[in-house]
């Protein structure tokens, strides 16, 4: 009897020992089934997307449409899963790949493509899409798609930064509501004009994308051509910081610092406390809808220029992960083709405000009607001719978000010397590009 209880204890101990191991095994199992052929013969694929509101609606609607049409016909079922912001997506995609639970297809912020392609997380898409199909995309949108000469990403929800302004407030302040600011000087004087109605003019945060846009519109850039060195401390870069700092001091600008600055800016724009701000064209449909509910009108304009109109493109492309092969790869290719097709591009543009990515949509009658009714939708597209890609070098993201934006925050909130603050930031992050 006694002996038996001893054995029982031993068995229990062994069981406990085995439990964590069994746990490991069972968590590893679904990874194989993440993107797989189910028992019914249907190919199950995971698709990861970013951002909420209209953008989420667009992703879900298009996925549903795919499942109901091509998917049904060819036995493919795609599940769309929300992952947060672009940087959340990047962190999760990387971890998921290490854990072998990555999705088949994902959206990818255009600047991240090189990193993920070089790490072997993505696979080339040269066979997915024909050359004539590629030629249908605007060339500015393809700049971030190639790594070492191979195609890795296909334009999906693409944007340029644009300037949003509150037409209703413009009218109250005695400005022409049909004309947004064209130059930096306009931005300053129009912002100043808002003092009359007790509101702030231009609201902004420290942000890498809008900084790229404003430096470029002043004839500079954040890096040199080869992306081996940061150049945000060039005279053009310093002049840009000077412009914003004097805007806070004399131009009725409002600067939002801190991790939640962008949220505060959104709140202020909805409550009509600021009259102008920068945003992606991808948020246009949402912004227009909010404005309608709240009873004010929104206008859009190019990013104001100092010496030239020049902006980066932005947004996300579609990519395919590298472990897919055979029937699953073909299924993922079907899905990518569907999501980036002219019809889907048109639907995405109308639902969200992201760019109509394809030349074949240029004279589309649906769009012509839409632009007559809401000309705001056309601004980003018109600006596309002045747009080029974003820097993609490894280390760029860390340098620009970790050092440059901190320097900008310091410049906007203190009297620190601009040139030396930017020089110092450059010194800290230049080695990241080597």
């Amino acid at each position: 009897m006694k002996r038996q209880s001893k054995f029982g204890a031993l068995a229990a101990a062994l069981l406990m020992l085995a439990a964590p191991l069994a746990g490991c095994a069972s968590t590893a199992a679904p990874s194989a089934a993440a993107n797989s052929t189910g028992s019914t013969g249907t190919i199950e694929l995971k698709y990861w997307y970013c951002y909420q509101d209209m953008v989420a609606k667009n992703n879900k609607d298009l996925t549903q449409k795919f499942n109901d049409t091509i998917g049904k016909e060819k036995g493919i079922h795609v599940t769309a899963e929300f992952q947060g912001s672009y940087s959340d997506m990047n962190a999760k995609l990387q971890s998921a790949f290490v854990g072998k639970v990555e999705p088949a297809v994902a959206v990818m912020e255009i600047g991240s493509t090189v990193q993920f392609a070089k790490d072997g997380i993505l696979q080339p898409l040269d066979g997915t899409i024909t050359q004539s199909d590629i030629d249908d995309f605007y060339p500015g949108l393809m700049e971030n798609s190639y790594v070492d000469g191979k195609l890795y990403a296909i334009p999906y929800l693409r944007s340029t930064p644009i300037l949003y302004y509150n037409k209703t407030m413009f009218q109250k302040a005695g400005l022409d509501p049909e004309k947004g600011p064209v130059t930096w000087d306009d931005l300053m004087s129009m912002s100043k004009a808002m003092e009359k109605i007790g509101a702030k003019g231009y609201g902004f945060v420290s942000d890498e994308w809008y900084s790229e846009a404003f430096i470029r519109s002043n004839g500079g850039d954040t890096t040199n051509d080869k992306q081996t060195e940061f150049t945000f401390n060039s005279p053009q870069g310093v002049e840009m910081q000077q412009f914003f700092r004097s805007g806070i001091k004399d131009g009725n600008f409002k600067y939002y610092s801190g991790a939640n600055g962008a949220d505060s800016l959104d709140t202020d724009s909805v409550n009509q406390k600021i009259a102008m701000w920068c945003g992606s064209t991808g948020g246009l449909a949402n912004t227009l809808q909010i404005a309608k509910e709240k009873g004010y009108e929104i206008g859009t304009a190019f990013i104001p220029k100092k010496t030239q109109n020049k902006v980066p493109t932005g947004g996300a492309n579609l990519v395919m992960t590298s472990r897919l092969q055979g029937a699953e790869k073909e299924a993922a290719e079907e899905f990518i083709q569907f999501m980036t097709s002219p019809d889907s591009a048109l639907a995405s543009h109308i639902t969200t405000g992201y760019l109509p990515t394809r030349k074949s949509l240029a004279n589309n009658s649906t769009l012509e009607k839409l632009y007559q009714k809401t000309p705001q939708m056309k601004v980003a597209f018109d600006q596309l001719q002045y747009a080029s890609g974003r820097p993609m070098a490894k280390g760029y993201e860390e340098g620009i978000t970790h050092q440059y934006l901190d320097a900008m925050d310091k410049i906007m909130t203190t009297d620190a010397d601009i040139q030396s603050t930017l020089d110092e930031a450059k010194k800290k992050c230049d080695e990241l590009l080597k």
Binding site: Q94, V98, I121, S257, G258, A259, E397, H402, T413
Partner: protein, 292 residues
């Protein structure tokens, strides 16, 4: 012979499951972290460059990391002091078992059980520079408003304030339990000797609850040193690195900038600091702790 082997082997056999879990989930990750700290790697790329101690060298000269260490130290010292100091005051006040005090106990403990995300959102709203309640109160007193979480001068203070507010209830409860378990006859004896209130506190109460104080200090220090979620939600290390702590920067390097080698180096340094802390605590404080 066989019997002897069993009697020696049995204890080891019995602790084997726990040891296996410990080795697998604690020792193995620590070892691989130490190993990773010698490489330049991003977790995925097939190229894993061995660079020896270069990460440590870089970390040693990294100004941002020095700022991070300082931030973490400031956060730890003030949140531990705040938690335990305030917790003790509250516990002393609530010691008398009345109805009001029992209600107060629940009220003070409540923030501890609410999720950090909800609390952070609540405080972000209270601390909003334009619409927040705190600045409205300051303005009513004709004091200019503060950009609580958005300025380098006040961000750390604000984060500490929120953390202390959240966890002080836990410390107060533990200390209250300790206070109530101090034998009443000790106070009676002290009263017979006409000991003052202050003497009773320093010569009876504090020594008697010193094991609890010791326990709380260690637990709170370790928790504060490892602070992450609060920073992630409230400030993301900003503005201008003013609230960037060791664990948050480890996360940023590892999972945002894909430099797992450098992140591991920070992890190793963190581990060394924590080990030193624990040793110093046990050597110095345990001499002064009164166990019954």
């Amino acid at each position: 012979m066989k019997k002897k082997f069993l009697s020696i082997g049995k204890p080891y056999l019995l602790i084997a499951p726990a040891m296996a879990a410990f080795l697998l989930f604690s020792i193995y990750p620590v070892m691989s972290m130490v190993q990773l700290s010698l490489f330049d790697w991003n977790m995925i790329s097939p190229e894993k460059d061995f660079i020896g101690l270069a990460n440590y060298q870089k970390l040693f000269y990294d100004e941002d990391f020095r700022q991070t260490l300082l931030n973490t130290a400031v956060f730890t010292v003030f949140s531990v002091l705040g938690d335990i100091g305030l917790g003790l005051l509250i516990a002393l006040y609530l010691k008398k078992n009345t109805l009001v005090n029992r209600i107060m106990q629940s009220v003070i403990f409540a923030p501890y059980i609410i999720s950090l995300a909800s609390i952070s959102l609540l405080w972000m709203w209270l601390m909003n520079p334009d619409y927040g309640l705190l600045n409205a109160a300051l303005e009513a007193l004709h004091i200019p408003g503060i950009n609580w979480l958005g300025s380098p001068q006040y961000a750390m203070l604000s984060v500490i304030l929120i953390c202390v507010w959240k966890s002080v209830g836990y410390d107060a409860m533990i200390l209250l339990a300790a206070l109530q378990s101090v034998p009443e006859n000790l106070y009676e004896a002290a009263a017979l000797d006409r000991a003052s209130w202050w003497r009773k506190l320093t010569k009876v109460t504090l020594p008697m609850i010193s094991p609890t104080l010791f326990f709380l200090t260690i637990v709170e220090t370790i928790a504060s040193f490892n602070v992450f979620e609060t920073i992630q939600i409230l400030t993301r290390g900003g503005p201008q690195n003013s609230t960037d702590t060791i664990v948050f920067s480890l996360y940023q390097y590892g999972f945002k900038f894909y430099r797992i080698g450098y992140a591991s180096t920070i992890g190793v340094v963190l581990m060394i600091i924590m080990t030193l802390f624990t040793i110093v605590y046990f050597v110095l404080l345990s001499k002064r702790v009164h166990y019954q």
